[in-house]
């Protein structure tokens, strides 16, 4: 995706608070997590209270790292309405100690492996009832150098 032309109007409202899409002054996409300043644990998406500390006001917003590695994956062939099959889902491990469920994309299915490096991007998730793209975040498998 040409990150500079990302259409914010088309972001899925369900995902809107979870990430910052690229803009004219920052070409990167960012996942927004909560970090507890007492126990140091990250939570994604953001939480209202730290479930470990159970105290008000210990959470602050933090961007997560943009690179992760694949813990597991699957290739969806029988797709729910609005999703174009095949598409890839999986769990990826982030350096902040979080394993998250996400959509994954790749140019080459041979690169799709457990342990493969992936990078956060903004992009199309599905289509709405009018056939228009609905946007969100996902991870893209990085080319091995």
């Amino acid at each position: 995706m040409n990150q500079a032309t990302f259409d914010k109007e088309r972001i899925d409202p369900v995902l809107a608070d979870m990430f910052i899409p690229p803009s004219s002054h920052d070409n990167e996409t960012h996942l927004v997590a909560s970090k507890c300043n007492k126990c140091g644990v990250y939570f994604f998406p953001k939480r209202h209270i730290c479930p470990n500390c159970f105290e008000e006001g210990t959470l602050e917003d933090k961007y997560l790292s943009n690179e992760a590695s694949i813990y597991t994956y699957c290739v969806v062939r029988a797709a729910p309405v609005g999703f174009d099959s095949p598409y890839i889902l999986g769990y990826v491990d982030l350096p902040e100690g979080i394993r998250i469920f996400t959509m994954i994309e790749t140019d080459n299915m041979d690169d799709l492996k457990i342990g493969a490096r992936v990078r956060l991007i903004a992009g199309k998730i599905r289509r709405d009832e009018n056939g228009e793209d609905v946007m969100g975040y996902k991870f893209s498998v990085m080319k091995e150098r």
Binding site: Y71, C74, V75, R77
Partner: protein
């Protein structure tokens, strides 16, 4: 705590039945359970009814149990709806068990029912209940179990053939169970050639959409002799909400391990003592994990366990002699008490051509449901009961 016995059990045939409604299904299961028990209706003091999707699909959130009971001439007793994902029926049984164990009631009826075939999206996976965020990202239950399969294959060398063998075993059993939606055997080749759903899972690795109901009549053990000379005792009941954690090892279910451990301790038994088990084979990879989580084999050895015939009738433990969810289908709330009905028949020696020879101790295991979390994994409910011949 008082000892508890099952004195009657009944279920409908499981199938897609467009002409029948949820009340009709529940009524048939209750009539069969009551008639098989010899318990007069006036002796039933309390009832629980487990359903998971009647609100979303049938516009009836409350009152399914009450309507069924009113239809068969039972009213004026406490009736409570139990919703607990795929374990709704099993959880209704557990509530009935606890009501008698407490000493407050002597005779209870548990019902589990669901009419799932009315859902939209024929040929597409059932979406989970209330997982808005996951669904927005393309989640479905088969995708979750496919992710588990990918990791289990990576860590332990589990193969698509071993997963197929779970289906082959359970569909083989289904030939002798007239209550199953599918009653024909399949080969490994047929499983591996069936339509891809979510790689590495194919159509025949997934349980079908189904309608059906089960019902169980239970009472204090010291009263069971009034009704039957072959009571089946419930010697353990355990239930856990998922034990969610970050960086979850997805090749095991924390909730199942906790429920299994508690059930074995309560029964004073171990995995080697179980002769027959009905476990939640919603997907073939799930049954492989259950062998491991319920202690029938060590971690990572679930694939060889089925491949070596250890889960067959006549193996180390007969797993899913009914045909399981893969053959019977999985009408959410209906599943748990169909499992208990099968174990009731097995321990009484009434399971016809699928009888597990010499079965004295049995287990049922029902699990499922998802929390709407991106970073925490497990299933939302895991319910286990252990049973023993009570005579």
């Amino acid at each position: 705590m008082r000892e508890i016995s099952i004195v009657g059990a009944g279920m409908t045939k499981f199938a897609k039945m467009p002409e029948r409604d949820v009340i009709d299904l529940g009524r048939e299961a209750c009539i069969k359970a009551i008639k098989s028990s010899g318990v007069p209706r006036k002796d039933i003091q309390i009832a629980y009814c487990g359903t998971a999707r009647t609100g979303q699909l049938l516009n009836r959130e409350c009152g399914v149990g009450q309507t069924i009971l009113l239809d068969i001439g039972i009213s004026g007793i406490p009736v409570t709806s139990v919703g607990n994902f795929c374990a709704s029926g099993s959880s209704a049984l557990r509530e009935a068990y606890l009501a008698i164990a407490s000493g407050m009631y002597d005779v209870a009826l548990a019902i589990g029912v669901e009419k799932l075939s009315v859902r939209k999206g024929k040929g597409l996976p059932l979406t989970s209940d209330g997982v808005t965020l996951l669904t927005a990202l393309g989640f479905s239950p088969p995708a979750y179990f496919a992710e588990i399969a990918t990791r289990h294959m990576y860590e332990f060398g589990t193969t698509e053939k071993q997963m197929a063998l779970v289906t082959v075993k359970n569909r083989g059993h289904s030939r002798y169970n007239p209550n199953c939606q599918y009653q024909t055997s399949v080969t490994v080749e047929e499983v591996l050639a069936s339509r891809p759903i979510v790689d590495p899972l194919r159509m025949l690795n997934c349980c079908p959409t189904t309608d059906g109901a089960g019902a169980i009549l239970l009472c204090a053990k010291d009263l069971a002799w009034k009704y039957t000379d072959k009571p089946v005792d419930i010697i353990a009941s355990s239930l856990h909400f998922g034990l969610y954690e970050k960086n979850k090892d997805m090749t095991t279910f924390n909730s199942d391990r906790a429920s299994g451990k508690e059930a074995y301790e309560m029964a004073g038994l171990g995995p080697k003592d179980i002769d027959v088990a009905e476990v939640h084979d919603c997907f073939s990879i799930a049954e492989i994990l259950h062998y491991e989580d319920l202690g029938f084999c060590p971690r990572g050895e679930g694939g060889p366990f089925v491949e070596q015939g250890k889960a067959d009738i006549g193996g180390e433990v007969a797993i899913n002699p009914s045909g399981g969810l893969l053959s019977r289908g999985h009408p959410l709330g209906g599943t748990g008490l169909a499992q208990t009905t099968e174990i009731f028949w097995q321990l009484r020696g009434e399971a016809d051509k699928r009888q597990v020879p010499g079965a004295r101790v049995g287990m049922t295991h029902t699990m499922g449901g998802f929390q709407d979390s991106i970073e925490l994994a497990d299933v939302a409910s895991s319910c286990i009961h252990i049973y023993r011949q009570g005579w």
